[in-house]
């Protein structure tokens, strides 16, 4: 009896230890976060002011906001490219907010906003964002940056997409050839864009033998397309991140409708009392600040040889789309 009891105590001790580790880890979390932020900001040359070493050595605590919890709903592309891993710790250090970044498809991010589950949104589906502005769900919507979508496919290009001049024409060729096309099918910003392009091409791909939906994120979808030697639509950032693993290459790029435009916006605190309005406002201002725009301009250059995003704060959307 005693032997067994001892063993039970040992087991309890192990479990308590596990819990204890957790506790200790939680306490030490703050300095680690700052350290990580510090390391990340150090990777970015020439954007930090000379006061950086000082703040790094002795992290000055900003006045703690009344409600420090901020939920950011965003798209997988901003997280998968690593951009937010640089920007979010910087924002937290400056303002004292604790940001919970939830990376989902744009459709779901907008839905989270519509239900008041998130405080601030960083998304890329302008046509779907406008109705939320009009219905007062979101306020303070601001242009942050853009990159572009590309159509990728097998190098031998069986559908002849490379000869097309517009994205719609390219998709039409894929449909005519019956070449396999892998769709996200997850109502993300990329998926919404793809659907709009099919519409423009005058093709309804739904239910066609050659049209397959993964329901997964961009990275996973590219992997599927690569295995099937199929075509797909991707944002350039995720494609560049995946490039080292795949045989597919860009078969069409540069058409104006392929622009991928990111906006940041606050969920309306007057409409949802639990929404952290102050924190969301601070994040919007942060994203369009000169300093962050400069980081966006150079982000990814050292790793991919080209920037992943182009900063656009203060511009009108029409300047990018050429008035369309």
């Amino acid at each position: 009896m005693m032997k067994w009891f001892q063993r039970f105590v040992v087991l309890a001790a192990i479990t308590a230890l596990v819990g204890g580790c957790g506790g200790a880890q939680q306490q030490s979390q703050q300095p680690e976060t700052q350290q990580a932020a510090q390391e990340q900001t150090q990777q970015i040359p020439s954007t930090e002011t000379s006061s950086e070493p000082e703040t790094a050595a002795e992290p000055q605590q900003p006045a703690a906001p009344e409600n420090p919890e901020l939920i950011l709903a965003t798209t997988t592309s901003t997280v998968d490219t690593g951009l937010l891993d640089v920007l979010v710790p910087m924002f937290e250090e400056r303002t004292g907010y604790s940001v919970k970044t939830v990376a989902v498809g744009t459709g779901q991010a907008l839905k989270l906003g519509e239900n008041g589950e998130a405080d601030v949104l960083l998304v890329h589906a302008p046509e779907s964002e406008i109705p939320l502005v009009e219905s007062g769900v979101v306020v303070n919507r601001q242009l942050v940056m853009h990159n572009d979508f590309v159509i990728i496919g097998p190098a031998d290009d069986p559908a002849g997409v490379k000869s097309a001049t517009t994205a719609a024409e390219g998709l039409k060729k894929i449909a005519d050839a019956g070449a396999t096309f892998i769709s996200r099918g997850d109502d993300s910003g990329t998926d919404k864009k793809e659907k709009a392009l099919w519409k423009e091409a005058g093709v309804d791909p739904k239910g066609q033998e050659w049209y397959q939906e993964t329901g997964q994120g961009m990275g996973a979808t590219i992997t599927v397309a690569n295995e099937k030697m199929a075509y797909t639509l991707s944002d350039r950032g995720t494609y560049l991140a995946q490039k080292k693993n795949i045989d597919l290459e860009i078969v069409l790029e540069g058409d104006a409708p392929l622009l991928n435009i990111y906006h940041v916006m606050q969920v309306n605190p007057e409409k949802y009392p639990m929404v952290n309005g102050d924190g969301a406002k601070a994040f919007v201002e942060f994203m369009v600040s000169d300093e962050v725009q400069e980081i966006i301009r150079t982000y990814g250059v050292d790793q991919y040889g080209e920037p992943l995003f182009f900063p656009d704060a203060g511009k009108a959307e029409e300047e990018l789309t050429g008035g369309n």
Binding site: T15, V18, Q216
Partner: protein, 233 residues
């Protein structure tokens, strides 16, 4: 195959460098799964013993529910907990969504039926005369409980291992209620999924290797306990 080799190299590099982020993710994984397992053991073992010993109307129905629960898909547990914890949900005021606590709750729901079910089976396997014998010797209810647990200890440790294995390996619930937030709710499984979608297969393989090592270490400790307990008579 070359990829696996690269993964192993990456794993060794990550382990030897003592990467702060990796340490944090690993400790959080242990903490969340460990807490959920502990809670489910505290509730599940007494519940299993009770279900094994006490006859009451509807017992078979309750047992069938437990057995069904043993197959609870983590995403279902995650969805239910999400709906409860969202700001618009009944427990939204607690602001628990996207916290480790939310992950513990979801994993508890996954582990509880596993622990209860294994306990039920373990106690049920004991010779029914044993219970009568112990009671006849004048044991109190509490003593009976402990003696039966002692007799069924092999099965009970299997219950603990089963519960722990169930939660440390799940990804669906952790992603939904935790959100895979860097520095806050990122655990080894959700980090692995993310690295795959980023195209960093070597990092993903490295994380998998570390996760398997972790599971092995914990189950090894539990196995020692189990088999050591079997030898001492």
């Amino acid at each position: 195959m070359e990829m696996i080799g690269q993964g192993i190299v990456a794993a060794l590099k990550m382990l030897s460098s003592g990467d702060a982020e990796l340490v944090r993710v690993t400790l959080l994984t242990l903490r969340v799964a460990g807490t959920a397992t502990l809670l489910s053991v505290l509730v599940g073992i007494p519940l299993g013993v009770l279900l094994a010993l006490v006859r009451f109307p509807g017992r078979n129905f309750v047992i069938s529910l437990v057995n069904m629960g043993m197959g609870t898909p983590p995403v279902v547990a995650g969805l239910v907990v999400s709906i409860l914890l969202w700001r618009s949900g009944p427990l939204g005021r607690l602001r628990l969504i996207y916290t480790p606590t939310a992950m513990v709750i979801a994993q508890f729901i996954i582990a509880l039926p596993l622990v209860t079910g294994f306990t039920l089976a373990g106690i049920g396997q004991l010779n029914p005369k044993l219970q009568d014998q112990i009671t006849a010797l004048g044991a109190s209810r509490w003593q009976l409980f402990w003696l039966l647990i002692r007799e069924a200890r092999l099965s009970l440790l299997a219950a603990v291992i089963g519960g722990f294995g169930g939660v440390i390996s799940e990804v669906g619930a952790s992603t939904m209620v935790g959100g895979n937030i860097l520095g806050k709710t990122r655990v080894l499984t959700t980090a692995t999924v993310m690295e795959v979608s980023k195209g960093n297969f070597d990092t993903a393989i490295a994380l998998s290797i570390i996760l398997m090592l972790l599971i092995w270490l914990v189950t090894y400790a539990l196995t020692r306990l189990q088999q050591g307990g079997a030898r001492v008579r």
